[in-house]
């Protein structure tokens, strides 16, 4: 009787070299090392060359005095005492301002035009089509020049401003309106506003539950509006109207005081909004067309009118197709805002990659920072849109 040897062969134990898993790791590590070496050598090479050419390097300039002024600034900034680092934040905030307002406005306009293009109203559909075709087929830079000149040229000069009701003035220096000055008691109004907002949300959730249980519908919109407007207003009057206005006054050249919206900002905002809306309109149209016609017919058969059909049946399904390309349009808008440099709007590129780069001469550092900022903004936008997309996506069971 022979015995079978109990020793079984252990695969891979013979040689680590032939273990596919370990080989895989080895190659990954090797690749990482190569990439790391490439980055390191490029960086050290750049530093070496900068030194050889006697060009200043490093980030020491960040705390140096800037010595120039910027007209539109969301944080205090002046030639006396502000640094290049603060100039960076001024530019960054201006970029974020125009990009965020532009994203909101272009979404509304784009949805409207996209839906209009599918409208059964012939005139409306054709107008929407012309809009999309014209806007999408002209270079954005050209459109910005057009808007800048279209905004600027027809307006009167500062001494002959168009006076609008409520101490609002319009001239070729922009739109100047009363600047609200908040008294200390105004905090109560802010608190009331947030309370009202919470109450509105709570009511909305409650009413949805009620509707699901009993089928009874509540006028949600009206009640929300009433809460959010009404409660702060009541508190405002109870607190003794703690709000005053700094009114614009006619100076020798310009109106002084007040809150000024600069024409460069308006031109850039209109240009970016209308341009991106053209693309969003097509994305929306594609999304709606992707929803099978049977869905609309089924909704009609259930007796839903055109409005609720669109709102409750078509759009929610279309959103799944719309969101991914919509995200890339948002990213495009943000990146396109750097064309501001052509019309004198002080965005990040204009202030930081323009003036600061030129005054310090540190192109490598300044451009690297600027690229990192745009990358960060884009990635953060993508992240939020991906989260939203996940919520809207078809739940697969």
């Amino acid at each position: 009787m022979t015995t079978i040897p109990t020793e079984t062969r252990q695969p891979g134990k013979a040689s680590l070299l032939y273990d596919p898993k370990i080989r895989g790791y080895a190659y990954q590590i090797l690749l990482l090392a190569v990439v790391g070496f490439l980055v390191w050598s490029a960086a050290s090479n750049a530093i070496e060359n900068l030194r050889a050419q006697k060009i200043a390097s490093g980030f020491g300039f960040w705390h140096n005095a800037a010595g120039f002024d910027v007209n539109q600034k969301l944080i205090p900034f002046s030639a006396s005492g502000s640094t290049y680092g603060q100039a960076f934040y001024v530019g960054l905030l201006n970029t974020l301002l125009v990009a965020s307002i532009g994203i909101v406005l272009s979404t509304f306009l784009g949805f409207f035009v996209g839906v209009a293009r599918l409208s059964s109203n012939w005139v409306l559909a054709k107008l929407a089509m012309i809009y999309v075709e014209v806007i999408r087929n002209l270079p954005l830079l050209l459109q910005l020049f057009f808007w800048y000149n279209a905004v600027l040229k027809p307006l009167p000069d500062a001494r002959n401003s168009i006076a609008l009701p409520g101490s609002i003035f319009l001239n070729n220096r922009g739109l100047i309106m009363p600047n609200p000055q908040f008294g200390p008691a105004f905090q109560a109004v802010v608190v009331a506003f947030f309370l009202a907002a919470f109450a509105a949300i709570a009511f909305y959730i409650w009413s949805k539950r009620q509707q699901e249980r009993t089928g009874k519908q509540y006028p949600n919109g009206l009640i929300t509006l009433g809460l959010i407007l009404g409660l702060p207003l009541i508190v405002y009057f109870l607190a003794g109207q703690p709000l005053s206005f700094d009114l614009p006054q006619q100076g020798r050249f310009n109106l002084t005081g007040g809150l000024q919206i600069y024409p460069e900002f308006v031109a850039l905002l209109i240009g970016l909004t209308t341009y991106t809306a053209g693309f969003i309109a097509e994305v929306v149209r594609a999304g709606i067309l992707a929803v099978s016609k049977g869905q609309t017919e089924a909704a009609n058969a259930l007796g839903l009118r055109a409005g609720p059909t669109l709102k409750l049946v078509v759009i929610p399904q279309a959103m799944r197709v719309i969101i991914p390309p919509l995200t890339s349009n948002y990213l495009n808008l943000t990146k396109n805002s750097s064309l501001a440099v052509a019309i004198g709007y002080p965005d990040l590129v204009q202030v930081f990659t323009g003036t600061v780069l030129n005054q310090t001469g540190q192109a490598v550092e300044v451009v690297a920072i600027t690229m990192a900022v745009y990358l960060t903004i884009s990635l953060v936008t993508s992240l939020f849109m991906n989260i939203y997309n996940k919520r809207m996506a078809l739940v697969e069971r």
Binding site: L50, F68, L152, F253, P263, I343, T355, L357, Q359
Partner: protein
């Protein structure tokens, strides 16, 4: 697979050593000679200093400086490629080697000399910053500009001087900065600003671009020193010397009365200073890598400094700027050249 990685790493190593070695590049003069053309960074369009005419030929005081360098090297003033640069791109273009010399009405400052990796070779035009306003505003002095909007070009010393001036005089203002000079003057013309500011010579040049030049006046204040001159990279002292001495040659030629018209006769001059300048005595040109007759080439093709000045910005031009500070030191101006000896 292993071979592939080995090859990739070897290739990478080679690339890195090659790029490190490139720091030891041949001299700028050798590069220019080998390329057979001079790359000159120039203004995008400033009348009198650097602007292409209707036929596309570049004209101006700065342009002729580059032509003089080309004439000295190649005996041909047309072996220049003009590369128009905006104010904010100019120094980067010079640093990166895109141009051999930057002659683009740039102000010589300490920061630019010390930390940009460039050096200024001299001053070919002494300027100062001024303001232009509409006549109908009734402004007669820059001190009355409190509350005004001012259009300027970004990335310039102008932008900094403007902030300094209004701060020092405790005046309020709004700055509107544009990347290009064309956009700046267009916005001023459209009424976006009350005042337009740049170097005084530039004010006269830009005024010609306005729809109604006569409706605008230049205010009397000059608020800064703007020594405008050429710059080169700070790693080639031979090239620095060459560019510097082209300017001195033109000034010395004017001082000694050597002109485009009489340069051939001057070759026979017994004056030792003229003989040294024109290379009939000594071989001074060779010390900066040129031929002994380098100044003859410059003057024959371009003229002396005074001739170039009058033709481009002086009485022979639309700008009609007086010599003033830019006159020779012998005539009360600031233009002074060390002797050739």
């Amino acid at each position: 697979m292993k071979k592939f990685f080995a090859a990739a790493i070897a290739g990478l190593g080679l690339a890195v050593t090659a790029s490190a070695a490139s720091a030891q590049a041949p001299s700028t003069l050798a590069q220019v000679k080998q390329r057979n053309i001079l790359n000159c960074g120039s203004n995008t369009g400033l009348a009198g200093f650097g602007v292409p005419d209707a036929q596309g030929n570049w004209q101006g005081l700065d342009v002729e400086y580059c032509r003089a360098i080309a004439a000295a090297i190649f005996n041909d003033p047309n072996k220049v490629k003009f590369i128009p640069l905006s104010a904010k791109d100019r120094f980067t273009a010079l640093q990166s080697g895109e141009v051999d010399v930057l002659v683009r009405n740039s102000t010589w400052t300490m920061t630019r000399d010390a930390s940009l990796g460039i050096v200024f070779t001299g001053v070919n035009y002494y300027d100062g910053q001024g303001f232009m306003v509409r006549k109908k505003l009734g402004v007669t002095s820059a001190k009355q500009l409190s509350g005004a909007s001012v259009c300027t070009q970004q990335g310039t010393t102008t932008e900094l001087n403007l902030a300094d001036y209004f701060r020092a005089n405790n005046l309020k203002y709004e700055v509107v900065a544009f990347a290009s000079s064309d956009e700046t003057i267009k916005a001023y013309d459209a009424g976006r600003c009350d005042a337009f500011t740049t170097d005084a010579s530039g004010l006269y040049a830009e005024r010609l671009k306005l729809t109604a030049p006569d409706d605008h006046i230049v205010l009397p204040e000059i608020i800064s020193k703007e020594p405008l001159g050429p710059s080169v990279r700070n790693n080639d002292s031979g090239w620095f010397n060459l560019v510097k001495w082209v300017h001195y040659a033109m000034i010395n030629a004017e001082e000694l009365g050597v002109t485009k018209a009489n340069v051939d006769e001057m070759l026979k001059s017994p004056n030792p200073e003229i003989k040294r300048l024109l290379g009939t005595e000594g071989k001074f040109g060779e010390t900066i890598g040129l031929t002994p007759d380098w100044v003859v080439r410059i003057v024959k093709h371009v003229g002396n400094y005074g001739e170039s000045f009058e033709k481009n910005v002086g009485q022979g031009s639309l700008l009609k700027i007086a010599r003033g500070q830019n006159g020779l030191w012998t005539k009360g101006g600031l233009q002074y050249a060390p002797p050739v000896r």
